[in-house]
Each structure stands twice: as C-alpha cells, then as structure tokens.
C-alpha cells in the first residue's frame, strides 16, 4: 500500500501567492509579506542612505504601494526584486520630499536633527574599511548607488536589477562598473 502524501497545510505560502492574496484585499497576507520582507527593506533603505528616523515611513509607503500595485505584479520575477523596485521609487520620492527639504532647513537653522542621533553604524567604529566604504557609498550618485546596493549588497542578478529599476541590462553593468571603480579608489586611498 502506497502511503499517500500528507498535504503540507503548514507550508508557508509562496511570496507570489501572498501578493495575489493582497490583490484580493487579504490584509493577513499583507501582514505575512511584511514580516518576511521588512528586514530586507529596512536594510535596503539604510544602504541607500535614508536617515534611520525616516525608514519606518518609507517602509510603510512601500507596503501601501504593494496594496495598490498587487494586481499588476507579474509572477515571472521575484517578489524581492519587485519590492526593491518599489522601494527604489519610494527612496527617490523621499529624497525629493518636502520633509527632507524641511529637515535641511532645520539643519541650516541650527536645529538638532535625527542625523545627530546615534545610529547602528556607530556600533562598528572599529571596522575602518567598512566605515570608509560606507562614506564612499554615500558619495555615489543615486543611480550608481542603487545598482551597487541591489547587485553587490542585496545579491540581485543583473536582470532582476534591470527590471526593478526599469533600465536596460547594459546600463546596470555600466553603472555597477563605475560605482565599483569609485568605491575601490576610495578604499585604495585609505590604505
């Protein structure tokens, strides 16, 4: 007698299934997506240079955009790269936002802002190379930084990055090459 396969009712649903459920108005699915991908988005925004105090707002904006755009999600590419694409757009919007402008104005006016608050970066003061690289990444243009973070730090493929950013694959490699060149120069200068 052949044993029947036991249905894996407790298996976690695939990300794409969660997105499909979100598109049908399932907020529970949205909660699961949040739990899975919030750390990724927080890390990603930190690497893109979003101030720690603003990250919660931008992460929330990404998930609200997921609710709006869920029915347009194409299952042919990963939810991770799709989320990174949305997150990149949100980060760009954030950079242009009035809030940031207001923060700058406050900084000019001498008001203490959240940038003066201790950040997790401070915990690794001892890793000089990482500190230098962090500064160099912050000095990259937004376009180069997005590609470098997605490919080198988040591990997306060139194709996924191209799709997430809506740019040609060759542009991904070009931007990555120039980003690496700048970062290597920064590291080499320090040694």
């Amino acid at each position: 007698m052949t044993a029947l396969p036991v249905p894996t009712v407790h298996d976690a649903p695939h990300d794409a299934e969660l997105v499909a459920a979100v598109s049908r108005g399932d907020l529970e699915a949205l909660g699961k997506l949040f739990e899975r991908h919030e750390p990724l988005l927080r890390r990603f925004f930190g690497r893109l240079g979003i101030a720690p105090g603003d990250v919660d707002d931008v992460v929330q904006a990404v998930f609200l955009e997921v609710v709006r755009a869920a029915d347009r999600y194409e299952a042919s590419y990963s939810v991770k790269s799709w989320l990174c694409g949305i997150a990149t757009i949100m980060a760009r919007r954030h950079r242009r936002s009035l809030a940031r402008w207001a923060a700058r104005m406050a900084a000019w006016a001498g008001v203490e802002t959240q940038t003066d608050v201790a950040t997790p970066y401070d915990a690794i003061e001892h890793d000089q190379a990482a500190q230098i690289l962090r500064g160099a990444i912050a000095g990259l243009s937004a376009k180069k930084r997005e590609v470098f973070v997605l490919v080198t730090l988040e591990g997306l493929s060139g194709e996924e990055t191209a799709r997430a950013l809506g740019i040609p694959l060759k542009t991904v490699w070009t931007r990555l090459h120039y980003a690496r060149r700048e970062l290597r120069a920064a590291l080499e200068q320090s040694t």
Binding site: G25, L27, L30, G31, F34, E35, E38, P39, R42, R43, F45, G46, R47, P52, V55, D56, V59, Q60, F63, L64, V67, R68, T119, P120, Y121, A123, I124, D127, A129, A130, L133, R134, I137, F148, V151, T152, L153, S157, G158, W173, L176, H177, R180, L183, R184, L187
Partner: protein
C-alpha cells in the same frame, strides 16, 4: 604575468557571471598565471566583503510589530476609501492628454523651426576680376562684406527668418530676395542696380532706399554710362568663413564658407538707349575689364561679323571677347541672343564645360523661349 593585462576587464564580467561558461573557464585558467587579473578579482571580492560588513539598519521585534500594525491600519483605510469617481478620472485623463499633445506640438515646432531658421540663404555671386569680399554667415543670416569691385548677386527666395545682408564700406544693403548688381570702389558704394526683386539700401548719412526691379542707385540719368563688368574667365578661388577672394568668380553658395566655381560673367542688362561702355579710365568702371576697350564702337553689323569671323576661324577666346563687346555695345540688337548662345559654344569648344553650362543656363534664364533653347539645353546635359 605582471603589469597591464588586456584581459583584466574580464575579471569583473566573470565575477558578475556575464561571461559564457567557456569564456569563464578560459579566464580562470588565465588568471592563475596573471597577477593583474588575480588582483582584479581580489579587489572585487574585497569590495564585496567590506560591503557586507557595512552596518545595516535593524529593528527590534517590538518596533517591527508596531510598524506592522501601522501598515495594516493604513492599508485597511486605503481599502475602505471610496473609489475615485470615474468621471473625475476621465477629466484628469483628458487634461493630461491635452497637456501631452501640447508638449508634443511645441516640441515638434521647436524641432522644426530652428532648422529652418538656422539655414542661411543661398545665393550666386559673380564678381569682377580683382574683387575683394568676404562672407560671414550665422544661422539664418548671410552677410557678405564687400570691399572693392563689382558684384552681381542672385539670391534665392528668402524664407521666413532668413536675411541676406551686404555690408558696404559706407552702409549696408539688405536683400529681399532678388538679383542685383553692386559696385564698391575706394571704400564707397559706386552703384546698385536691381534686376529682380527688391533690395533695401541703407547708406550712412542718407535716407534708406527701397530699390525695386529696374531701379538703380544713383538713378541713371539719360546718357549716363553704365560701366561694364569684367568678362574674362575666372580662375578658381575660394572664400573662407571670413575669407576673401580677389578673383572674378561665379559662386553658388549656401552660407559660409562659400563654394567658388569658375563661371561666366553675367552681364548686366543695360537700359535701352544707354551708351556704350566706358573706357577703363572712366570713373565707375571696373579696374580690369577684359573686354577690349574700343575707342570707337563699330556698328552692330560689323561688331557681330567680327565676332563671327573669329568664331569661324576657331579663335574662340577672341570670339567670346568680341561677342561680349557686341552684347554690351548693342544690348537691344536682336543678335544679342545669338551672341550669348555662341559664347556658350565658344566656351565649350575651349574645353570649359562648366562655364559653358553656366552661360547656357544664363541664356535659358534670359531667353526661356529663345530660338537656341534646345541647343542650350543640350549644352547643359
């Protein structure tokens, strides 16, 4: 292997997985013996590993739960929001479409108009021997600086925005799309004669004049002598952006630098009843007229017969000069048409096909229904 390596660029491609399997294996074999490529790979690995050590933002479980709650609340509110009225969306769409159309129209207009405006007028210029001039064209404005000599200029019809200006030693002359003759001598404008179209003449210290076809400045008084243009074959010359020519030439130009080609002399049509050309010593005459200066003008019949005699004898250079003298001396004679055509033939027989074609074109322009039209057209082929 040390120093530079032509395959170093492959390190990054191999590292990113952009090379084919065979190329990757080939590069890996190469890298084992190449210090430069090994260094490249190490640098990429270092960058990656240091990048991973750059601290990341994290949140505590409590912070995560709070944010999750906030996201779900906001998403719920979003879901509960009434859908935007369709009519409002349609109105917004219509406004957007109108804006897009406006932008497309404006950009198309902007794309097309500068090209038209940027194109300088085209013109043809015949000059006397020794004439000096320069050309300065910028976008839609052609500007010729005339220093000395006579210039017969034919300007193609000007389009909107195009300007053609002659800078004279003592003023300027703006063309309104025309064919005309201007003579400059001793830093002074000697005369202007308009054959077709209109020109605006603005001389310093004098009121602006609008000259129409047939008008001349100064006005031709009865018995006034019309100085003849030179008729000698023009040597090759060239005019740069701010260059100068000092040779007679027939130039067809579109902006500067002008293309100068050897060509015939286009004869100004003297008014009926005008007197024979002056000798070179007369004021207003070109400095080196190539037509023979005759102290006594022979009768029309004799002059034409002399030219025909030279033509029949095969002395085409002399024949051409005599035909020119005949045309100038007897512009109202019915044989002027033949003389013009025979000048073209004479040029052709001298082996100067380009000039022959130019004279034939001049013939066809002056006598579009002339008796020699078919032959002239054959010369053009």
């Amino acid at each position: 292997m040390t120093g530079e390596c032509s395959r170093a660029w492959q390190a990054e491609a191999a590292y990113d997985g952009r090379l084919s399997r065979a190329d990757t294996e080939s590069f890996q074999r190469h890298a084992t013996t190449c210090d430069r490529c090994t260094r490249e790979i190490r640098a990429l690995e270092t960058l990656h590993s240091v990048g991973q050590r750059v601290p990341i933002l994290t949140s505590t479980p409590l912070e995560q739960r709070r944010l999750r709650q906030s996201v779900l609340r906001a998403a719920n509110e979003l879901a509960l929001q009434p859908a935007r009225p369709r009519s409002r969306l349609l109105a917004l769409g219509a406004v957007a479409a109108a804006l897009v159309l406006l932008v497309v129209w404006l950009s198309a207009r902007r794309d097309s108009s500068p090209e038209l405006a940027a194109q300088a007028p085209t013109f043809k210029i015949d000059t006397s021997k020794g004439a000096t001039w320069s050309s300065l064209s910028r976008q839609a404005t052609a500007r010729l600086l005339l220093k000395s000599g006579w210039f017969e200029i034919s300007v193609d019809k000007l389009t909107a925005g195009q300007r053609f200006i002659l800078e004279l030693p003592d003023g300027e002359l703006e063309v309104k799309g025309t064919r005309f003759l201007v003579e400059v001598e001793g830093m002074k404008t000697e005369r202007v004669r308009v054959h077709e179209g209109r020109v605006a003449l603005r001389l310093r210290g004098k009121p602006s004049l609008l000259l129409k076809a047939g008008d001349a400045w100064p006005p031709i008084a009865a018995g006034r002598v019309e100085p003849p243009p030179a008729a000698a074959p023009a040597p090759q010359a060239s005019a740069g952006e701010v260059g100068a020519t000092s040779a007679p030439a027939s130039t067809e130009a579109r902006a500067a630098p002008a293309r100068v080609a050897q060509g015939p002399t286009t004869l100004p049509v003297a008014p009926a009843g005008s007197t024979p050309p002056p000798s070179p010593s007369e004021p207003g005459a070109p400095s080196e007229p190539s037509a023979p200066s005759e102290p006594v003008t022979p009768p029309a019949g004799d002059a034409f017969a002399q030219a025909m005699s030279a033509f029949s004898a095969g002395d085409f250079g002399k024949a051409e000069r005599l035909f020119i003298a005949f045309e100038r001396a007897h512009p109202a004679d019915g044989r002027v048409e033949d003389a013009t055509y025979l000048r073209a033939v004479a040029r052709a027989r001298r082996g100067d096909a380009a000039a022959a074609r130019a004279i034939a074109r001049d013939y066809l322009r002056r006598y579009p229904t002339g008796l020699r039209r078919a032959e002239a057209e054959r010369l053009l082929r």
